[in-house]
Symmetry: D2
Subunit: 260 residues, 4 copies
């Protein structure tokens, strides 16, 4: 993945302007004070300062997170870094794991999962919307180094899944519709995560999880508060994101009649 993301650069003036550019796109790039040729930008090392039209810019390498936040095209609300990192730890996702995702959306979390499971792991992701396929593929193309993403452009309900998933994440409007399928696909003790924007969805999913015999580990909100990097006037930013969603984490509990 790293090698592929190497083709992207962040260019910023350290103030308002911050943009991700794709060096594989030969066209000129727009800066606030004019267009810079792609071949000129290519010559500047990531991690250095350059002058253009009398103005100073920083050229930085582009992280996966920055690629997701600043470059990926969005069809839906994406999972933010404040939640994505917490999901990785709570689903215990690590190199070699087999992870499922119901609701690929724009592919943001898919890319994070792909990186976390590495070349020996795998990510099975399901998106029923046919019109999302093209954008998902375009978004994921620079993150596809490991060949570990299995993209299925149909509802999870139409899949035949073996029962050996380590973890599953559901980002769907009606997640209770797939809880039993997901449960069948998980190993005993396998981990389930959900992100839901409304309390109505949360109370309904809690009831369903309890009815289906999942063990609920925790329900959390993650809030990020940004600060202005001014050492003489240190203070939080005026505005912050007030809500993205509620995170629910659960474990599959084996039915007593099942063998081990």
């Amino acid at each position: 993945m790293e090698k592929r993301l190497n083709r992207f650069r962040i260019v910023t003036d350290g103030k308002k302007f911050k943009k991700v550019f794709d060096l594989d796109d030969p066209g000129p790039k727009g800066l606030p004070n004019g267009m810079i040729k792609n071949e000129d930008l290519e010559k500047i090392d990531a991690g250095s300062i350059f002058s253009f039209g009398g103005k100073k810019y920083f050229v930085l390498p582009c992280s996966l997170q920055e690629y997701i936040m600043e470059f990926m095209q969005r069809k839906t609300q994406i999972v933010y870094p404040k939640e994505a990192g917490y999901i990785i730890l709570n689903l215990d996702i690590s190199p070699g794991k087999k992870v499922g995702e119901a609701g690929t959306g724009t592919g943001a979390l898919t890319a994070v999962f792909s990186r976390a499971v590495g070349d020996k792991g795998s990510v099975y992701t399901f998106e029923k919307r046919k019109d999302f396929a093209e954008i998902i593929q375009r978004n994921l193309e620079p993150c596809w180094e490991y060949d570990n993403i299995h993209f299925h452009n149909h509802p999870l309900q139409e899949a035949e899944l073996p029962g050996d998933f380590d973890a599953f994440f559901i980002d769907m409007k009606y997640p209770w519709e797939v809880l039993n399928i997901v449960k069948d696909s998980l190993k005993p003790g396998g981990r389930l995560g959900l992100l839901l924007p409304t309390t109505n969805q949360v109370t309904r999913i809690i009831s369903t999880l309890q009815a289906e015999g999942y063990f609920i580990n925790e329900i959390s909100e993650i809030l990020r508060r940004g600060y202005k990097p001014n050492p003489e006037r240190f203070r939080p930013e005026d505005l912050m994101t007030g809500h993205t969603g509620y995170l629910i984490f659960a474990c599959k509990i084996k039915n007593s009649e099942e063998g081990s």
Copy 2:
């Protein structure tokens, strides 16, 4: 790592009682209503329910996060999951990367880094306190699958570091003392993260980072708000963690005199 953490189990009654047990320790394990023999606990599959003394318990696999939070012995304040996941994404830590850590502490973040960089990556961690060595080794022992942790029991200042680190994390009381060493060790564009509990430390480190030519990406607080899993009375928990620390993320910018 997974294989090694396999020896741990979470046993919980789904209410107040939740504990991590080490199956490699042959002694009996204390439950609220009596002692269970280790050999009896070993027979129960992770991800199932069992009855003991007329009471129902869940046995769950132990995630790295749960091992860190519930089992690691602490000499210092540890980095919490709400921050650890966000650090991984912001430092762009992924399989194969080379990461440094100044201030091993109890080894919590070291274990998270080790897992994220995988068998082709490496983590160099430095702890000057000689009396921390034993506890760090004991804490990390079950997380050492990859042989990718290089533990140095001396101050970072005494190390000779090549300049090829992808990322560095500093968890020290006086981080400004090592900013120049860390800068020399990072690749151009390499990422630096810090966690600092007080605003006085933050304002001082901002000034030093700016003076030493780092680019400051962001300063953030991450807050977690837990909710009670009761679908008829859904509400946040009464108490929450009010503060752990401020996160600062920066990039190394190459001095103009340096070659590429």
Copy 3:
């Protein structure tokens, strides 16, 4: 009210110890390092330092808020200052207003309302629990300067209310049961406030308010984050209150068939 609260003093060592004492109670008062006679404490001016047993204490006047938080006996969860002040402003409570309260509880908010409407205003408060009467009267006794509190120890449903209330606050478990009574008691445009701990109650009350023709002004949570007063190590407190309740504010809208 001020004159009556004058009989209370806060005694604190500026660290862990902080207590409200009643000078009208002639018994000795317990300090961390011994008992001080009431007559000795009486001689110390509010707003001064004194030494007792070689230890320094501050004696401070007791505010209504401190009396409520530190001295009132509680039968139920009280309304905290972070919410009480916001309620006053949102219900537009001011000198001379006529205010209702369904669910007196311990009388904390009653005392705040009594002070805010002053000697020309009035507070009608209803508590159905007979066993709360004594504690409410004892709690409110030092706050009763204005003779503006009308305490009714029966359900609101049994009251005959004129339709001229400026504002009403409901702190009940099933507030939807009294919404129509409260609406009849309010002037057109009169303001209604509610504090509810669970989202299930909130969604139900929103539906009922909309069905009964109220206009919903806003729904809010108020969070307080305390900081340690250490200028060299400035930082938030480790723990904070994670939840008290959701505040709902609405206005009575006159039915079209009603006259003006």
Copy 4:
């Protein structure tokens, strides 16, 4: 005050449109779908619904808070309701009290204080900026019912203050410049409040307060999180105010050499 604010109306469609109109201004009022004549708006009772151009509007009475937030012209950042209510309670401001304010700004907090102390209390407010005088007077004119506001258009340092203030609030950039003057003006045990946007100001004021012998009661942030009033999709608003300022509350401690 109430009588004067009676001339204002809130007109809202319950969605995006919400505006405060002054009925004393004879000009027509702009609604999203056209201009309504003032005489037509005057005929509609506060607390009712009316139709205009086929669209439904609510007409509501205007609270002091709404007048402040929606109608007052601003020269400076104003004190928000989430803080204003908390300040009233922490400074123990109530009918009959004598309150000082250093930094009138736009007069928002002045109006809240004026109402809280009522006709037997008084508010002394100081603003050094001569160019603020006109706007302050215009903003406060509808709130001047009690004749209890004493506006001084010069720095606090030029005032001669008696030592009998119950409470003082400072909203200035360099509050440490007036701490000793304010201390002389307060009764022993009198209460001081400050609102400061940056942590640098807070750490400096803590040091000065401690050096000048104040007792620091608490340092707090108040956060408000709004929710959407949708009972089927209940959730917080997407954006929230991330920061207004840090509140500091202290008590004057009498110097030991002072008499009682």
